[in-house]
């Protein structure tokens, strides 16, 4: 059983200094065991300027078991799968500690973005590129940030508007868009198939 009173406290604590850290956590739906985290791309990295959405699922044993986190936004990074968004980070696996919180875990992920560990890769292709052709890596990472992680509030509103015009309810359109990281085509695909 997830300790929801602790999760609630964590959310309050985290959302107190959103402006300062840029990191926020919000429940995805009504349940507190499925959340969406947002982290800004760290400065002086190819991810600067991007906003990355992270899907957080709390297992029953939380906080004694690590939360399951993966990127919803597509990222070009040696330790993050470019396909699934899976994150390779020790504190989310064997180095988890119940004194860590969702926020500290997200801060760690943010730090991972600025300091990749190509020797312990999640995505071998990206890791190889990082090691052998660093310039291309930086270019790709920046392009991906530009393409997938830049969703200015204006852009999102337009996309939602367009989906609403196509006949989808606004709330659903917005959540689906958020769910696919702001990609309008993917959202449309998902909306149509569901």
């Amino acid at each position: 059983m997830v300790d929801f009173s602790r999760v609630q406290k964590e959310l309050q604590e985290c959302n107190k200094d959103v402006k300062l850290s840029g990191i926020s956590v919000k429940p995805k739906a009504d349940s507190l065991s499925h959340l969406i985290g947002t982290i800004p791309g760290p400065v002086d990295s190819p991810y600067e300027g991007g906003t990355f959405l992270i899907d957080i699922v709390l297992p029953d044993g939380y906080p004694f078991e690590p939360p399951k986190m993966k990127f919803l936004t597509k990222v070009w990074h040696p330790n993050i799968s470019s396909q699934s968004g899976a994150i390779c980070l020790d504190i989310l696996k064997d180095q988890w500690s119940p004194a860590l919180t969702l926020k500290t875990a997200l801060v760690s992920i943010q730090a991972l973005l600025s300091a990749p560990e190509p020797d312990d890769p999640q995505d071998a292709v990206v890791a190889q590129q990082y090691l052998r052709d660093h310039q291309t890596f930086l270019g790709t990472a920046r392009y991906w940030t530009e393409a997938f992680a830049k969703m200015s509030s204006h852009g999102i509103e337009e996309k939602v508007q367009r989906l609403v015009e196509m006949g989808f309810p606004e709330a659903l359109a917005r959540s689906t868009l958020e769910g696919v990281g702001g990609d309008e085509n993917l959202a449309l695909e998902k909306l149509c198939s569901s």
């Binding site: 009173s5 602790r6 406290k9 906080p63 180095q95 988890w96 500690s97 119940p98 004194a99």
Partner: protein
């Protein structure tokens, strides 16, 4: 005369009045098993009561002497003739028996049950007055109202008002009982310190559940779990949960789960405590208290010698062996000669000769009985002890000792000494025979099966174990 009845507080080891207690602090005194409700005429249990329904001619002096004024002259005749009267039981009048318990409580329960049969109870009243009267100031009872905070009778109170305790602010210090005063001040200060510590611990938060530990809903949760190696606060539930959580996704028990969630320093045990500490001394105090408490509890793994404890000598719990179990184990597996084997440890095997096995003890017991009752001759028991050859290795050992540098210290048990002396042709009457017989009795009790560890005082127990060759010195905990 007033100290005829065993003090029930003393019986539980908790009488604070010491020598000033109105009741006897003597185990030979009969326990007070008299039904007080029967004395007042209304025991709801009737003949089924656990306590004795007997007349007492003398009521114990007690604080509730205010009700004595109404005893005596206000005898009301029972409405119906008395019913069943079994000797020693309550004569229950049929009218009374028909009353519901609630109705019965309304009746003023001031008339002794037997007096309802219109007996004279002058003796009761006279003795009462005698009982409450006292000459020595130390024997006077202090006013319990004043001790609890406020006496409504104030200056007119017939009882002594105690002096003000500076710590708890109550008039509960007896002016003439110095020992009691000291005792009270000591416990009172201890309580006060505890309360202060509680107050300071109030704001400490558990780093896992992020709640104030002492504000948790249930009492069981309002405890800290102290880690032996670092000073990070957790509630006992959280830290135990973490340490016992099943290692998922490759978490290592030894490096991750036993580490402090914050600083990752390894701690091998968690100490539960209702208060948090603010200095190293306070922490040590809590830890020592905890260990001392565990030391008094029998280890469930060791199970009085019939199990095996994975923690061995470093176990926090008490490792004691029931002699009968030890004997049984020996009988089942005689090859395991020597007590160290019986204990399941290999540490003492090298110096096994230093100790005698349980079988030897058994034989010595039989023999020593013979030594003290020579007129009985060699009984079947003695013969069988010799027949079973149990005695032989023992005598050999003794002879070996005898031929070498014999030191009385080497033979700690009376049996061994008596045996030695008899071998030497000495007069065994030197030994305190009574003391010896007492031990024999105890031993017999153990063998006969109704042995209960509770029967012994700790010192006696220690002696028993030493008699059995159990080494008490390896009971310290070193990590």
């Amino acid at each position: 005369m007033s100290k005829r009845i065993l003090c029930k507080f003393f019986a539980h080891g908790a009488c604070l009045k010491g020598e000033h207690c109105e009741y006897a602090h003597d185990w030979s005194a009969p326990p007070n098993n008299i039904c007080t409700f029967y004395q007042r005429g209304a025991c709801a249990y009737g003949s089924r009561c656990r306590y004795d329904h007997v007349k007492v001619s003398r009521v114990q002096p007690s604080g509730s002497s205010s009700s004595t004024g109404s005893v005596g002259p206000t005898i009301s005749k029972p409405t119906a003739t008395s019913g069943v009267t079994i000797s020693g039981m309550a004569p229950v009048s049929s009218a009374q028996a028909n009353l519901s318990p609630s109705r019965r409580q309304v009746l003023p329960p001031t008339i002794a049950a037997w007096s309802q049969q219109s007996e004279n109870n002058d003796t009761l009243e006279n003795d009462l007055v005698e009982g409450t009267r006292s000459d020595k100031p130390a024997d006077q009872v202090i006013c319990s109202f004043a001790a609890a905070g406020h006496c409504p009778r104030g200056e007119n109170c017939p009882h002594v008002h105690g002096d003000l305790c500076p710590t708890c602010g109550k008039h509960c210090l007896h002016p003439f009982r110095l020992k009691e005063r000291e005792e009270h001040s000591r416990t009172c200060e201890k309580m006060q310190r505890h309360l202060e510590a509680l107050k300071r611990s109030q704001d400490i938060e558990c780093s896992v559940c992020l709640e104030r530990v002492l504000s948790k809903p249930t009492a069981g949760e309002r405890k800290f779990g102290l880690l032996s190696e670092c000073d990070h606060p957790f509630c006992i539930t959280c830290i135990r949960n973490w340490r016992s959580s099943s290692p998922t996704s490759g978490m290592d028990v030894n490096s991750t789960l036993r580490a402090c969630p914050i600083c990752r320093k390894l701690s091998y045990y968690v100490i539960p405590s209702v208060i948090w500490y603010f200095s190293k001394e306070e922490k040590n105090h809590i830890v020592e208290n905890y260990k001392a408490k565990l030391k008094s509890i029998d280890c469930k793994y060791f199970d009085f010698g019939s199990g095996s404890c994975p923690f061995g000598a470093s176990c926090f719990y008490k490792h004691t062996i029931k002699p009968r179990l030890l004997l049984q184990r020996w009988v089942l597996n005689p090859n395991m000669y020597g007590y160290s084997n019986l204990l399941g440890s290999d540490e003492h095997n090298d110096n096994e000769d230093e100790h005698f096995s349980f079988a030897d003890m058994d034989a010595v017991r039989v023999l020593s009985k013979y030594l003290f009752q020579p007129h009985r001759g060699i009984t079947g028991e003695v013969q069988s002890a010799i027949d079973e050859m149990k005695l032989l290795p023992y005598s050999e050992k003794l002879h070996k000792r005898y031929s070498g540098d014999y030191d009385e210290e080497d033979l700690p048990t009376p049996w061994e000494r008596s045996f030695m002396w008899s071998q030497l042709g000495c007069d065994t009457s030197d030994i305190d025979e009574m003391e010896f017989l007492h031990y024999l009795e105890e031993m017999d009790k153990m063998y006969s099966g109704d042995y209960d560890e509770e029967d012994f005082l700790p010192s006696e127990r220690a002696f028993m174990w030493s008699q059995l060759g159990y080494d008490m010195s390896d009971d310290d905990y070193d990590y």
